[in-house]
């Protein structure tokens, strides 16, 4: 089964999302290179873990601040963080992570603590 990731036209834009906060928590602050719980590039993994975190556009959050949050929390490089930020701004939302429901709840709670408007849902 091919699962479309909302907001991502090409899988390579998605590749770096694996290395995110949970890995750095597990490894006591050091970023992990090993696949994290959010690595969902294989069809099997996506089928098992069909949850995504969406960040939604709003008229108040600064584009620079959204980029900063994506770089700080998800450890994206600036180019990826800006692409996602522009997706939020122009398309109204972007998928910023995927994985288990529990992992997505952690991501959503983190986005809320930064003041970003985020939700989780099963991938559609």
């Amino acid at each position: 089964m091919r699962v479309r990731i909302a907001g991502f036209g090409r899988s390579e834009r998605f590749a770096g999302i694996a290395d995110v906060m949970l890995s750095s928590v597990r490894d006591n602050g050091r970023m992990s290179i090993a696949p994290s719980e959010r690595t969902a590039l294989s069809e099997e993994t996506v089928t098992e873990r069909p949850w995504v975190t969406l960040v939604w556009n709003d008229p108040i959050n600064l584009m620079s601040y959204v980029t900063y949050v994506f770089m700080t929390y998800f450890k994206f490089d600036r180019a990826k963080a800006e692409l996602l930020m522009l997706d939020v701004h122009e398309k109204g939302r972007a998928t910023v992570s995927n994985g288990t429901r529990e992992a997505m709840e952690i991501d959503v709670a983190a986005m809320h603590s930064y003041g970003l408007w985020a939700t989780l849902q099963k991938d559609d």
């Binding site: 008229p59 108040i60 600064l62 620079s64 980029t67 900063y68 700080t72 959503v108 709670a109 408007w117």
Partner: protein, 184 residues
């Protein structure tokens, strides 16, 4: 206009604020704490509502400003959203109140030149964003009505709040840029 926040030669992060600016931010800090801190004592009057005379009878989930600070985690599943709230909202409220408290403490330091630790900067970023979210939502700011609100007569509280909001935006943008430079 010079940057609000800047780095000294030795790498310290500094902001210059005069007494009026400090007192405005102290006031916002106190109001954000009142607004978001977990409420164990019943129905305290909402000071942000008092500030612009809005009916504060609305309960937390109904108040758009509070709803924006404490959003639903699920769009189409009210039960899951309530469960998520039960488990996370208190901690989210405490985080936001702690940011505001830290900013309040920093503002108690004497002098116009205030130096911020890394942790204090993180609190300032969160606080400035929360303050803008609350005020922006309260004055009904959208993607395209900024000029309309700015043109309101002085008697309309929204015009003055928009000025304050714009200043907070300027402060936040300045601090975010320093951090983006650090990360890049």
């Amino acid at each position: 206009m010079p940057d609000a926040f800047y780095r000294t030669g030795s790498g310290r992060t500094v902001i210059r604020l005069d007494d009026v600016e400090k007192s405005l931010l102290r006031s916002l800090s106190a109001q954000v704490i009142e607004f978001v801190a977990p409420d164990d004592a019943g129905d305290a009057r909402d000071p942000l509502a008092i500030m612009i005379g809005i009916d504060d009878e609305a309960t937390a989930p109904v108040d758009p400003a509070l709803a924006r600070l404490l959003p639903d985690a699920y769009q189409d599943d009210d039960d899951a959203a309530m469960d998520f709230r039960r488990f996370t909202e208190r901690s989210l409220r405490e985080t936001k109140a702690a940011h505001a408290r830290t900013v309040g403490e920093v503002l108690e330091r004497s002098g116009e030149k205030v130096t911020l630790s890394d942790q204090e900067q993180a609190s300032w970023l969160g606080f400035l964003n929360d303050g803008r979210l609350a005020i922006g939502t309260r004055i009904g700011l959208t993607d395209d009505n900024h000029a309309e609100i700015a043109a309101l007569p002085d008697e309309d509280a929204r015009a003055g709040l928009l000025d304050f909001y714009d200043w907070l935006t300027y402060l936040q943008e300045s601090l975010v840029q320093l951090h983006l430079d650090d990360l890049s």
